[in-house]
Symmetry: C2
Subunit: 119 residues, 2 copies
């Protein structure tokens, strides 16, 4: 079973975290067939953490987990922190395939999406 | 003449600012017909600032300027800081039409873009 985990930074502003939760719900509705399990997790400040999110997906029966960084730039969080947390969990669950998708800012379609905002 | 200004936060990591500059170049190539002038500006830490970016567009002959916030959530920067800087410049240049586009995180297409990253 495939599980998708959207990972955001986490904010002191609850509205920002709610934006991530709403986005996750929209993804859940859209990706239902491909990913029967869709959740969000936060790198900092907000629960669930990335390890807790992975644990929850494994408990649900996930055999493949895709971690999707909801970040615009390839800073330390994307390059180091998320991979570190994921690889620790990969060691804990060798029977589960956990991969990290390219972060949002790396998406080829982002220019078109930006242009859709100005039209 | 229409000018587009992509506004990012600005980072201590130069690579992150370079990502914004590369994105701006990609937008310039793609939006050439609609926006003969495309540049980036930064809210903090990095030049040019938003006021400097608007000044540059006006000097180039812009009659319509669209400020596009390259932000994922509607925090203080999107809700307060960018509008404040823009409205000051609007007062300075009443003959120029300056508007702020919805921030990236508000784009309806963002779920599809995220799904394109995991496929």
């Amino acid at each position: 079973m495939k599980s998708l985990i959207v990972v955001a930074h986490g904010s002191r502003r609850d509205e920002s975290n709610d934006e991530v939760r709403r986005l996750t719900e929209a993804l859940r509705a859209k990706a239902r067939r491909e990913f029967p399990s869709v959740r969000c997790a936060f790198l900092d400040l907000v629960a669930p953490s990335i390890p807790d999110g992975i644990d929850a997906s494994v408990r649900e029966g996930a055999t493949h987990i895709t971690v999707l960084p909801y970040f615009l730039s390839a800073g330390r969080h994307v390059a180091m922190d998320i991979p570190n947390e994921v690889s620790e969990k990969q060691r804990q669950y060798p029977q589960v395939n956990i991969r990290i998708a390219p972060y949002l800012g790396a998406a080829a379609g982002i220019t078109d999406l930006l242009l859709s905002q100005v039209r």
